[in-house]
Symmetry: C2
Subunit: 701 residues, 2 copies
């Protein structure tokens, strides 16, 4: 964990630089929140005039404070912040909040950089600038100018956006959702998402993490940290800036880079982060995950008094991959005694409109008592005779009787009365909603986290070592010629050195050389024009396949030369690439791209129409675990093709998996590669491996 970061959340003393006595001022609200929320440490207001703030002993300068200062909150005009940070450093302050805005987000990146440099010089973690502050409810510290009466709970929340974040905190209060730590991250000039994650991880009052982010600075480190946390703590991310419009708004909002959303999606999935569509969903999920059981079996039961509501709940469970118990004999035996003959026990358990609160209580009791029921979705429709006070009391009673060992999610459909019942259930920590979709989505999130946390990523079976010098020598050769685009022969030489199987080939500068290469690697061969100036070689007739002997070679050579000189009269080709023909395997594409947030990213898919027409490809951030590589293979929609669909061959999956892992390591070791396509990579039958047939490689500037 980042040194001193704990002082941001557990400070024993807080200095408020710029604290004003004037009501309504941000700095005044800040001190007011600290006092009124019940902070037990010492507060030192600092302002030039020295006028007292809320009767506290006030200082003209932070250096005048006699005590140690664990955290200083700076709330003064942007132009004076640098000096204040310097003074904090001199005073030996442990950590700094820069509440003030007017830095990177308005184009003042240089000023922002300077304050960070000063903070780092003094080893003070700096949160912000452009934030509303931090909250730590277990110690009754509300160091913000935002909502005051934050409820106590086990959810820790960090937000890049201040206005939205503060509004969402108000929303948690209104919906009776309790929080533990809150951090406004603002411009993330120093303390970043990964630092905060590490802090949340060790905080004993954090049970679930929610992050709102628009962009990310060091995606790789973020993923590393997140991956180590997920098995123990669920991480829920709201990542906005998905759409073109959204990404554009992000760019003009803070200075952050919104990477391609598809890669964010893949990266989150890779480490088991749960991505929510919006804030309501995120806190719905967090709320149910907060009270998650240690282990969670897969059988859910829906209990309802409305047949239609039951059908809709079953639909929603199917949508969110919530598995319904379907042991009909057991269900009939367990529940029939409470249900009229025209009610259903087939899950949804439909007690019918005739079943009132008493029946709900009995059925819920039974469902809680049965070991092979693991989660309960309780959906109650308002009728003229419904008594929602009784309903809530019964549900709370039964839950308490069974010490809340199972997740029970309630959905109440109707008007004012059910709405009040939802409030009272939420207050008692029982997640309750007005909406079936929301209830099922929350239960689905619980199951997804449960699966993610169990997915043990074992140590890699093998890690690859590459002959760096030889490989870099080839790259340097191209760079000397001012080329970033490598020749196919260079790319293939590199991949061969990297341990991929590449069919024998040679570059012949003239017909004789080509012929001599051809006879050494044996016919049949492929002949292909070699020139960095010609990209679509097939299209202009620059490629001939299936050449069987010297005679055909001569003919093909002349034809290619004619085609090339008619399409590219000014180009002098380097010669021709002579390659051994390989049997046709399953065509796949394996590539590397460089993402601004996450660095080297791998792409995999089937070749040809699957990639070009159906765009059926998956991404992962490199390096990969064994499981990641296998996930890539099974996650594409056309995966069955690799397993022998339509009477095709069963591909060599272990070899493909090894190629993916190898390319992942390779991409990490050679970050100078901007883009790489192995297209196609042929996959042969089980035991026969795979072969690079063509490759394109581009270096970064």
């Amino acid at each position: 964990m980042r040194k001193n970061i704990e002082y941001l959340f557990y400070p024993k003393t807080i200095a408020v630089v710029g604290a004003s006595a004037k009501p309504g001022k941000v700095s005044n609200s800040f001190v007011k929140n600290l006092i009124e929320y019940g902070y037990k440490g010492k507060i030192f207001p600092v302002n030039i005039s020295g006028e007292s703030v809320f009767g506290l002993n006030t200082y003209r300068n932070i250096t005048e404070i006699e005590d140690e200062v664990d955290m200083a909150a700076i709330i003064i005009p942007a132009k004076s912040v640098m000096e204040a940070v310097e003074e904090c450093g001199k005073k030996g302050v442990k950590s700094v909040l820069v509440i003030t805005s007017g830095f990177g987000e308005v184009g003042e990146a240089a000023l922002e950089k300077q304050i960070v440099e000063i903070a780092r010089k003094y080893q003070m973690p700096l949160l912000g600038p452009n934030i509303f502050g931090v909250i730590y409810t277990p110690e009754s510290m509300n160091a913000t100018f935002g909502p005051r009466d934050v409820l106590r709970g086990k959810i820790s929340f960090a937000t890049q956006s201040g206005a939205l974040g503060a509004a969402l905190i108000s929303k948690t209060i209104n919906e009776h959702i309790g929080l533990s730590c809150v951090a406004s991250l603002g411009n993330k000039a120093d303390v970043d998402d990964d630092d905060i994650l590490e802090f949340f991880e060790q905080d004993k009052n954090t049970n679930v993490i929610v992050l709102y982010m628009e962009g990310i600075k060091d995606g790789r480190r973020f993923l590393q940290v997140a991956e180590s946390i997920v098995p123990r703590l669920p991480i829920i991310v709201i990542k906005s800036g998905k759409s073109e419009e959204g990404a554009r708004a992000a760019a003009s909002h803070t200075g952050s880079l919104a990477g391609s959303d598809r890669i964010f999606e893949a990266a989150f999935r890779q480490v088991g982060i749960l991505r929510a569509e919006g804030a309501t969903e995120a806190f719905d999920w967090a709320n149910i995950l907060q009270g998650r059981p240690e282990t969670l079996g897969e059988h859910t039961v829906i209990i309802t008094n409305g047949g239609g509501a039951g059908v809709m709940a079953a639909d929603a469970c199917s949508k969110y991959s919530v598995h319904l118990l379907n042991d009909h004999e057991f269900l009939e035996g367990t529940f029939r005694k409470y249900i009229p003959s025209f009610g259903s026990t087939r899950n949804p358990i439909d007690i019918t409109g005739q079943g009132g609160e008493e029946t709900i209580r009995n059925v819920l009791h039974e469902a809680l008592a049965q070991d092979n029921i693991n989660a309960i979705l309780l959906i109650y429709c308002e009728a003229a005779t419904s008594n929602f006070d009784t309903f809530s009391r019964y549900v709370i009673d039964e839950m308490d009787k069974f010490t809340r060992i199972k997740p029970v999610i309630v959905c109440l459909i109707g008007g004012e009365k059910p709405k009040r019942a939802i409030d009272s259930l939420n207050q008692k920590g029982i997640p309750a909603y007005t909406d079936i979709e929301r209830a099922a989505s929350a239960l689905g999130a619980l199951y997804r986290w449960s699966a993610n946390s169990k997915k043990i990523k074992e140590e890699r079976t093998e890690s690859f070592i590459f002959p760096e010098e030889e490989i870099r020598a080839i790259m340097e050769g191209a760079k000397r010629e001012k080329r970033l685009q490598l020749l196919e022969s260079e790319a293939k030489d590199i991949l061969k050195l990297a341990g991929f199987r590449v069919p024998e080939f040679g570059l012949g500068r003239n017909l004789d050389e080509c012929a001599s290469i051809a006879s050494s690697i044996e016919y049949p061969i492929v002949l292909k024009i070699s020139s960095e100036h010609i990209t679509h070689k097939s299209d202009i007739g620059g490629v001939k396949v299936g050449i069987k002997d010297r005679g055909e070679l001569e003919q093909a050579y002349r034809e290619i030369m004619r085609n090339v000189s008619s399409s590219y009269p000014d180009v002098t080709p380097r010669g021709m690439l002579v390659t051994r023909m390989v049997d046709k395997g399953i065509e796949t594409i394996l590539g590397v791209t460089h993402d601004p947030a996450f660095g080297p990213v791998l792409m995999f898919g089937l070749g040809g129409i699957y990639v070009e027409i159906m765009k059926d490809v998956v991404f992962r951030v490199a390096p990969l675990s064994d499981l990641d590589a296998l996930d890539m293979i099974t996650e594409i929609k056309a995966s069955s093709v690799l397993y022998g669909a339509r009477g095709g061959i069963k591909g060599d999956i272990p070899s493909l998996q090894e190629s993916i892992l190898r390319l992942g390591d390779f991409a990490c070791d050679f970050p100078e590669i901007a883009e790489l396509d192995i297209n196609p990579l042929f996959i042969f039958e089980k035991g026969k491996g795979c072969t690079v047939v063509d490759a394109r490689m581009t270096l970064a500037h």
Copy 2:
């Protein structure tokens, strides 16, 4: 419209058969609702004891009533309902509600059928049984035992489920959503969704229709009615029971890919019905569609005080296909004067946290005044200084000033205060939400309906006539042989008669016959075993292609016979199908399946891996409009392949479209066809048409 159905909603007199004086009884609540909601017509309670109900003149028998009875509500035990309906008929009652349950839904289908027969004998439309009643708010009629204080508005709602429906009405009251007609449909024994739709269409107080349905009886009629309504009135359907698709045993691709929900989805889309995921979404949509403008331009502007909220709103707009105005010069010129320099005018218009209610008012005013802004999404985050009473007042003022000509959707993020503001905005008919997703989804629905209503389905350019006798003769031939599965030759004969292009072929019973057919249709040919007992002909070596002359034919013939007798030693083939080889076109699949709700349904997709691996197919209910057929072609994901993607040919789209239309008409004219696959149908270059290469046809039992 169904005769007398208007008496269900506009009755001047209502008899309540079984009306009880005992509070808490369903029949008592029913009369109470009628009185308390302010029904202005006459109410005639009927009960055996003759005891007065709420002081009304009460009758022992319906026949004793002197006045005409427009509607009778029957609320007595199921076993007595039949007699009561008969008496209603004798009395000359115009329409009947059967509130009582205990019919089809508990297995008493025969009893249900009997009451319907009686009602029909007397031409009384019968709503129910198993319902909570009907409501018509413009005439202050609440003829239900459900929620009383239903708000007046322009949304008409019909629900199959009683418990859920009643709870949803309570929900509309709580969310300030006004309704016009409400109908509980229950078992739909007589009056069905389509009858209700026709009634809603002509009701001058209905502006939007919401239906909750689990199943449908006559899907084709429902679609016809819906299609005629959609251009004028939006129809929103909540169709549950998605997950209970039930695997169908089907030999054809078309049959196996057609889950019932997929066909519902396709059918709804075909006629422009908006399908909502759940009740919240449905009423959100209805609420905004209720106040829709006559015309709606495509440019939306997002106004917000929270950058993060703006980014999320832009994401949500992109998700729901809401187009954001991106004329940056205009936006800057219009809005910059109200916004600080670090705020954004790039849409989202970000007034920043410093902009308060006054700024919102100015920006909203400007956006309402500008002609090239057509819809506004206003997102306001709660901050310490926010005043939501002022906010609501300003928004309502501005909206009224501009006579509500543009849709303005409000989303308020925060705690208690914004929640109250949402209430007051909704009361004033301005849709307001706590959630960005919901707001954007509602706006998206508005745009989708606007597009659907404009999609004019012209009269069909051509309608196909088929030689019915000749076609049926072939089918009869197979049936005489106790076959439902036609031979390929029979299927092709039928398709040829139906006007499809089928390469010349003949069935040869021996080598000589095959040779003579081959020379008459000209080599090269395809030879294929013909037997109803052999399904996967290629797999067992029963097919040879590219046969160039008599010699090759002999060899192929013998080889096929050998292969067949080794795989099927007990089968005596009918002979071999000799078919002219055709050039390869773009492989497509065109099929028919028979849906229990909708009857003949068409499927289209590309052949081979597109259908088998990617399941990239679309469905439409037959018959189709010209536009439907074109939609099928462009809706598949791999559509670009038909338009020359990857250097392929540009397919003959008009000819493909004609084939789809032809097959649709054919499927309607021959409902005895249970399943049909034309697989492949080859599409040739523009102007060169398409050809049936293989076909399978199965008749219904």
